[in-house]
């Protein structure tokens, strides 16, 4: 079966070789459907970041199959050669810190992605403003990142992750620096956006405040994943 969201089968990742080799991922299997937000949790050193980097196409897995948005991108080797374009068009990233580009205003931080994908400046800014409106930060569109509050910055970074309408969003500890209320607001937004744009979203987190909100959780221990049902507690 081909998933439109994320499908990972038997993924392995070994760092290094010989005596010093580390098997960070031993057998990872995941499936995230479009419109769904799943949690990825696990103790330190279990392989969360490694998995995110493989999914984000910045490091190469050692074996397995990876399907994003209905397209097989990895099968015991990269199927898609232009990883830069893959990241630009298929994957949105949300980080622990917003990592906005400090010398671009809010609109252009978001519009940069469509621009990189070849859209005109006008079209790109139009798309950016649409998302800023959806995320309720359109009133700060011409501000510089340093003039925004932490929560506003994080919403701008979510807008950036969404603007090219990628089938997949990878969020790495997106609520770590936020208080409980703001953390839940971010989760609400991610759920809303997943529904609105039919995006499959993986949220890597340690954050006890938000873990109960997931309907499904993947638990990773020593490089192997287990699926668990989450509490699916409402976050409103």
């Amino acid at each position: 079966m081909q998933s439109k969201g994320i499908l990972i089968e038997n993924m392995r990742k070994r760092y290094g070789s010989g005596d010093t080799a580390v098997d960070a991922l031993k057998d990872v299997n995941m499936q995230v459907n479009p419109g769904e937000v799943v949690g990825l949790i696990g103790p330190s050193g279990s392989g969360k970041s490694t998995l995110l980097k493989c999914l984000g196409a910045v490091i190469e897995p050692s074996a397995g199959t990876m399907t994003l948005g209905g397209e097989i991108i990895y099968q015991d080797g990269w199927i898609i050669k232009d990883l830069r374009a893959l990241r630009r068009d298929k994957i949105g990233f949300v980080f622990q810190a917003p990592y906005l580009i400090p010398f671009l205003d809010v609109t252009d931080n978001v519009a940069l992605l469509p621009m990189l994908a070849g859209y005109s400046n006008i079209e790109s800014r139009k798309r950016a403003v649409e998302l800023l409106e959806a995320l309720d930060v359109a009133h700060r569109a011409s501000a510089m990142p340093s003039q925004l509050s932490g929560g506003e910055q994080q919403r701008v970074s979510i807008a950036r992750a969404l603007v090219n309408r990628p089938p997949v969003i990878l969020a790495d500890e997106p609520t770590a620096p936020l208080d409980s209320e703001r953390a839940l607001a971010v989760i609400r937004i991610l759920n809303q956006m997943a529904g609105q744009f039919d995006t499959a979203i993986i949220v890597v987190t340690h954050d006890e405040k938000i873990i109960p909100t997931f309907k499904r959780i993947y638990h990773i221990r020593d490089g192997r994943t287990d699926e668990e049902a989450g509490e699916g507690r409402p976050f409103e």
Partner: protein, 394 residues
Amino acid sequence: MISLAGRDVVHAWGKFVFTGVGLGLLIGVTLTMAGVYRGMVDDARVLLNNSSADLWVVQKDTLGPYAEASSLNDDVYRSILGMRGVARAANVTYLTMQVRQGSRDVRAMVVGIVTGEPGAPANLVAGRQITRSHYEAVADVASGFKLGQQIRIRRNDYHVVGLTRRMVSSGGDPMVFIPLKDAQEAQFLKDNDAIINQRNRTSINPAFNQQSVLNAVLDSQTSNPYVNAVLVQIRPGFSAEDVAQPIRQWKRLQVYTRVQMEEILVAKLIATSSRQIAMFLVILAIVSAAIVAFIIYTLTMGKIREIAVLKLIGTRNSTIASMIMQQAVGLGVIGFFVGKVAATLWAPMFPKYVLLLPGDALRGLMITAIICVLASILAIRAALKVDPAEAIGG
């Protein structure tokens, strides 16, 4: 696509402007050094032009009056005047010495000339030419002397009747023109005491025990039949070489044409200075390159996180490289204009002539651009090594 480099510069304009101004002052110094060299060469040309001579006749085997001591008998010019193709010929003397005005001494090149003849200053900026045969002087404005002032050369006072501009020796000393006879005497005369001593010594010398012999000898000791060069103007229709050739052959004298004289002044006299300046230019170029490289490297290192994010979201390496290079070149352009303005403002304050040629400025701009591009290579290499995985972190 928006200009990432431009946005970054606008955002961090303070850093760029301050660095640009610092770099600019350095570039200003560089342009000025080049101007100092051009000024020396131009001074030499002006010196030759204003002497309105076509040929310089000097003592055999010497390099001529500006480069080394040359001595000719002061009647040589008469026989040169009679030669084919010679329009005019005149004696000149050159002597670098202290000229006193009031209580200050000015180091000057005192030139003995015959008014209206080759060697005399062609253009005056104030006053008139020397008309009396004694005790009048025309001085270059660089000496600081004013019209009507009295100046003292050796034992005699001279009245400043005219002023020239840009008449300086190859060493940069202002010229002071005085009548040839006075100059010959000044060149010969030691101070009073020395003359009296010599007279006494001569009188008691038994070799001169006849009064008539003694008088002749004493006479010869107080007059000077020598000059340093004969300047020749040639008739229209004759080439410099045609006229020079027979003088070399028959008079056993050294003759330089205008082109050769310029060669001596520029290639021989200014050669060391120009190597000195070239050395300075090289060092300044290296220092500027180091500054640009350091600044651009530091600015880039401060943006490693942003660069990792840019790469992660799909920015091309070439876009990032060109962002860094544009900033380096931008810094160079700011620096260049600051430098050009600074050099233009401070050039007139230099004691010697500083000639800023537009061609040198253009070359400077090009070298600056090249240096900036090279200087950005270090930062670009560092930026290209940044792993997009760093944005995701551990």
